[in-house]
């Protein structure tokens, strides 16, 4: 059963969640069983953390939305026109916020329900309590079932995805290095196109990480990486992309031994730090940091001298210096990432 696709696991989970909610609704004899089954169905998500996150948001926003809706309803319930108008306001804002904010869309769902019930019968404080109770039952069932039946944890997904992502970034750098030394621009061109894909992957990892903290709500303190970690990861992605940009343009100094030497030196350090980063993420302690690589001053001057002697246009020199400079920055960033995880691990323990 472990080999089931995430969608199949989700489908099984949702079916069980809804089934249990239906049974509870029947036992308690709820007037509107859909008030617990629908939240249960929508709250059950692909990971346990996401389910908890959605459940908390859904219950909170139902309390706030229905309460505010109830207050407004109390003042306008004498007029059908006002009721319809506020119902329309609810519809408008649900649609407006559905892609922008889960919290606000749930708030307006609660708000709209008040006027919908007002239109077909009436709304009072008993219905408010019932609505909150049923939503809470549905959401709690979803949390419990998602944690027991084929559980998928954001924590595991996060660390697996992060390792894969770092692997892919390293491959990307390797391809860049090989291409720039062999003077082949085609592989770099094809890599450039996949930048958005990398960005999306990074966002997904960040999302899974932000969800991870919900999985620790009832357990020990989580090892939460700060937002800076992802900002730095973002920067790493950007620097790699700049390298691709500048590596793909033909430059007159690419043939220079001096430049190749500098790039090789930088690459050695970068590769070493990529490996350290991967071992830190996977929980190993087999690494030793010696500090970042710095471009040797004399080699840089040699490059400048060469550019003057061979009358190389300034933009080519700018491009080469940029490549060296960004390789240095990438190395610095890798060290920062290793340090962040290392410090966090010392405080909170291992990820895996």
């Amino acid at each position: 059963m472990k080999n089931l696709l995430p969608t199949s696991r989700l489908a099984i989970r949702v079916t069980i969640v809804v089934f249990i909610t239906v049974i509870i609704s029947r036992i308690v004899n709820f007037e509107h069983p859909l008030w617990s089954t629908i939240p249960a169905m929508y709250v059950a998500s692909t990971t346990w953390g996401e389910t908890i996150q959605k459940a908390i948001k859904r219950v909170t926003m139902t309390v706030i939305g229905c309460s505010i809706g109830g207050i407004v309803y109390y003042y306008v319930s004498y007029s059908l026109v006002w009721e319809i108008m506020f119902l329309a306001v609810g519809v408008f804002f649900i649609t407006y916020f559905v892609n922008l904010s889960y919290n606000w869309s749930m708030f307006f769902v609660g708000f709209m329900i008040v006027f919908f019930m007002g239109l077909i019968s009436s709304w009072d404080h008993n219905l408010l309590l019932l609505r909150i109770l049923q939503t809470a039952i549905g959401c709690t069932t979803a949390i419990i079932v998602s944690g027991i039946i084929f559980p998928d944890f954001a924590k595991t997904k996060f660390s697996d995805d992060l390792s894969d992502f770092i692997d892919e970034l390293e491959d990307m750098y390797q391809l860049f290095k090989t291409s720039i030394i062999n003077k082949e621009t085609e592989p770099i061109e094809s890599l450039k196109k996949s930048r958005l894909l990398f960005q999306q992957k990074k966002n997904k990892i960040q999302l899974n990480h932000s969800i991870t903290r919900y999985e620790y709500l009832l357990r020990k303190k989580p090892m939460v990486l700060s937002k800076h970690f992802f900002n730095i990861l973002d920067l790493l992605l950007y620097y790699l992309w700049v390298l691709l940009e500048y590596g793909s343009s033909p430059s007159l100094l690419k043939n220079s031994d001096c430049f190749n030497e500098v790039i090789n030196e930088a690459s050695d350090s970068i590769e070493k730090h990529f490996n350290y980063l991967k071992s830190v993420i996977s929980g190993s302690e087999d690494y030793e940091l010696h500090g970042e690589w710095k471009p040797p001053h004399n080699k840089m001057i040699e490059i400048y001298k060469l550019s003057r002697e061979e009358n190389i246009p300034p933009d080519s020199v700018v491009r080469l210096t940029a490549i060296v400079s960004y390789a240095t920055k990438i190395d610095e960033i890798l060290i920062d990432l290793i340090r962040i995880i290392h410090i966090k691990r010392q405080i909170y323990g291992k990820y895996k």
């Binding site: 696709l5 969608t7 199949s8 989700l10 489908a11 099984i12 949702v14 079916t15 809804v18 089934f19 239906v22 609704s25 029947r26 509107h32 069983p33 859909l34 089954t37 629908i38 169905m41 929508y42 329309a88 519809v91 408008f92 649609t95 407006y96 916020f97 559905v98 892609n99 922008l100 919908f116 239109l119 077909i120 019968s121 930048r195 958005l196 960005q199 999306q200 966002n203 900002n231 950007y238 710095k294 471009p295 001053h297 004399n298 840089m300 001057i301 400048y304 001298k305 550019s307 003057r308 300034p314 933009d315 020199v317 700018v318 491009r319 210096t321 940029a322 060296v324 400079s325 240095t328």
Partner: protein, 389 residues
């Protein structure tokens, strides 16, 4: 012109830009308005031709079906809508047979949950409507409305026709104006930031700039997510996919370049470089500001922008030349920059021999200004795409 530019920067209370921060291209706003229209019109029609409670059901169908359209090609949108409405109709009829028994109704509901979520693996088309069909199944059972099977067809049919007309024909969302709004938004942000560069790096402004940049970065994260959602919705249109892709790339590159430039400038400012760099920079940044401003004008003359581009190109060329006007001291292998004869800006006051990194920061600045030109040109091209459409 100066007055207009001032107004352009200081008009921070503009609600349009406030909303654009959250809703790129106002696409969600437009979608919300269209859905509201569809719901209201459907409900009014059904109210008069069937029965008042049926109007509520038809409103739900119209609202749900609007959510099922994936904004691709018109034919795809139509098939999405048709599929959703057929599924809604089937669910409503199902409810008719089972609503009298709690157990029958809910067992059917539980059994349908599995396929409704399992079909998600077949793609984005099956992401929304199967679950919404289940919601409708429960809503129909809860409504105090018992009609014949044929009468149940009318609300769905009316909702289908009205939604098709409103969503696909009368107010069909075109993504290109959305991109334009996004471009206007970003150009405005860059303008504010670059304007600060033009006035030079001074200590008192550092904190402000950094805060502003961070804020933009955080906003960007959100905006990129919106754009990516947009992209997912338009994945069937490769041309649009490409444009949105280019749009995202360029804005991302712009904001990161500003961060890098800031970092390099701050470093060199500490090396007594601030004032000189500011002077050289001022010339370039003023031109960049002008181009950014001119691009956003609806009636801008492309020839004028082109002229500014060539001017800027020349200035950047001379700027990079200054940066690499190097003399070498053969004794200790240190670097000395000699004053440029044709330009009143010089970098002689940098002591490169003491600070290995300064040479890198200096070339980074040269690199950054060169890159600004490329990004500006791409931004201008993106505006042109909008006009061609």
């Amino acid at each position: 012109m100066q007055k207009n530019i001032k107004k352009y920067i200081h008009d921070k209370s503009n609600i349009k830009f406030f909303l654009l921060n959250y809703d790129v291209g106002f696409l969600n706003l437009k979608q919300a308005l269209k859905t509201l229209f569809a719901v209201l019109i459907t409900a009014v029609i059904v109210y008069y031709i069937v029965a008042p409670p049926a109007a509520i059901l038809s409103g739900f169908v119209a609202g749900f079906s609007s959510k099922c359209i994936r904004n691709g090609k018109k034919s795809e949108q139509f098939s999405d809508l048709l599929l959703a409405c057929l599924s809604f109709e089937v669910m409503i009829i199902f409810t008719l047979f089972f609503y009298h028994s709690f157990w029958e109704l809910n067992i059917i509901f539980v059994l349908l949950c599995f396929p409704a979520f399992y079909v998600r693996k077949f793609g984005a088309r099956y992401l929304v409507f199967p679950a919404l069909s289940l919601v409708l199944f429960q809503i129909t059972a809860a409504l105090p409305l018992r009609l014949g099977v044929l009468d149940y067809c009318v609300p769905v049919l009316v909702a289908f026709v009205v939604t098709t007309l409103i969503q696909l024909y009368i107010f069909n969302t075109v993504i290109i104006p959305g991109i334009r709004e996004g471009l206007l938004f970003f150009n405005r942000k860059y303008f504010t930031l670059i304007k600060n560069f033009a006035s030079g790096i001074k200590d008192k402004k550092n904190a402000w700039f950094y805060k502003e940049l961070l804020e933009r970065d955080q906003n960007l994260e959100h905006i990129f997510q919106s754009i990516q959602t947009l992209l997912e919705n338009h994945r069937s249109e490769h041309l649009i996919h490409d444009k949105v892709n280019r749009f995202i790339h360029n804005q991302y590159a712009f904001i990161k370049l500003l961060s890098l430039l800031f970092e390099d400038m701050t470093h060199l400012a500490g090396n007594k470089m601030g004032e000189n760099i500011s002077r050289a920079f001022h010339l370039i940044m003023v031109d960049i500001c002008y181009i950014l401003y001119a691009m956003t004008k609806k009636k801008n003359k492309q020839s004028r922008i082109e002229m500014r581009f060539s001017l800027l190109e020349r200035k950047i060329e001379s700027f990079t030349k200054i940066g690499f006007n190097i003399n070498y001291s053969s004794n200790d292998n240190s670097v000395i920059y000699k004053p440029n004869e044709n330009n009143n800006v010089s970098f002689t006051d940098i002591d490169y021999s003491n600070d290995d990194n300064s040479i890198i920061y200096m070339s980074n600045i040269c690199f950054a200004v060169t890159r600004f030109l490329a990004l500006l040109k791409e931004q201008n091209k993106l505006f042109q795409i909008d006009k061609q459409k």
